[in-house]
Symmetry: C2
Subunit: 132 residues, 2 copies
Amino acid sequence: MKLITRNTDYALRALCFIAKSDGKIIPVSGLARELRVPQPFLRKILQVLSKKRILKSLKGQGGGFLLKRSPVKIFLPDIMRIFQGKLRLNECSLKKLLCPEQKTCPLRKKISGIERYVLRELNAISIASLIG
Amino acid sequence: MKLITRNTDYALRALCFIAKSDGKIIPVSGLARELRVPQPFLRKILQVLSKKRILKSLKGQGGGFLLKRSPVKIFLPDIMRIFQGKLRLNECSLKKLLCPEQKTCPLRKKISGIERYVLRELNAISIASLIG
DNA sequence: GACAAATGATACAATTATGGTATCATTTTA
DNA sequence: TAAAATGATACCATAATTGTATCATTTGTC
């Protein structure tokens, strides 16, 4: 029932570190040492962030990663969605099987309310607010 | 990021059905037909509920399951804990590895707040409230 | 008493999600 | 040209979830 998985967590730490580095180009090698995360795994994560246009990458010697947007404009759900897919606390466990009370299921209704609250709260957390 | 796993969900449906049956003894066979859930799996789930003293069981022909407590006194977290373990949205993904900012980690603080809210809300959901 | 219908206990298997490694190709700078 | 970086991608390991299978025991009914 974890809200945040490990790769999201690593991604957040990396983003925070890069954000604090104030424009310097950060290579994976340095980041991995700093965060004590396995370098190949971290590398994969940063590549994904790069493809998703959260980071900008520079190849070649002296290359590495930079933020592509201001840390004020990167929010938790942006990152969570990348690594964890849709943010839904509430999917009916009977996927395509028909739930007899699909429309009116009282449990779904109650959990939907909780979901809305959680998303609102998460949307208020930016990288900037984590390092501030 | 599902809040409720499949076996919890099945358990809840079963409890609701039994609660609505008003004291009648319900065998797994009937329940499985009714809920369209694989009977052996449902059986395992009910056995667990029985061991955890949510249900009472009667063996032998004509046997089955009954609620052991009033549906007003069975709450979502009771069932979730049985099938999903501790209710924590917030575990640090670096389990025993040392997180350098264990105490002050700003992300943990924010998520703790969300967790408290979610638990409060879940604690307000009883089986009775689901069938009411 | 025998049989059928139920649960108790428990071991095993399949599937999926998560976490992680390995490797080759390409780019860039010194 | 070599070294240091990312891009792309395929593969592997582990754990959690979702089940199945089986044998033992209890109990009511004929």
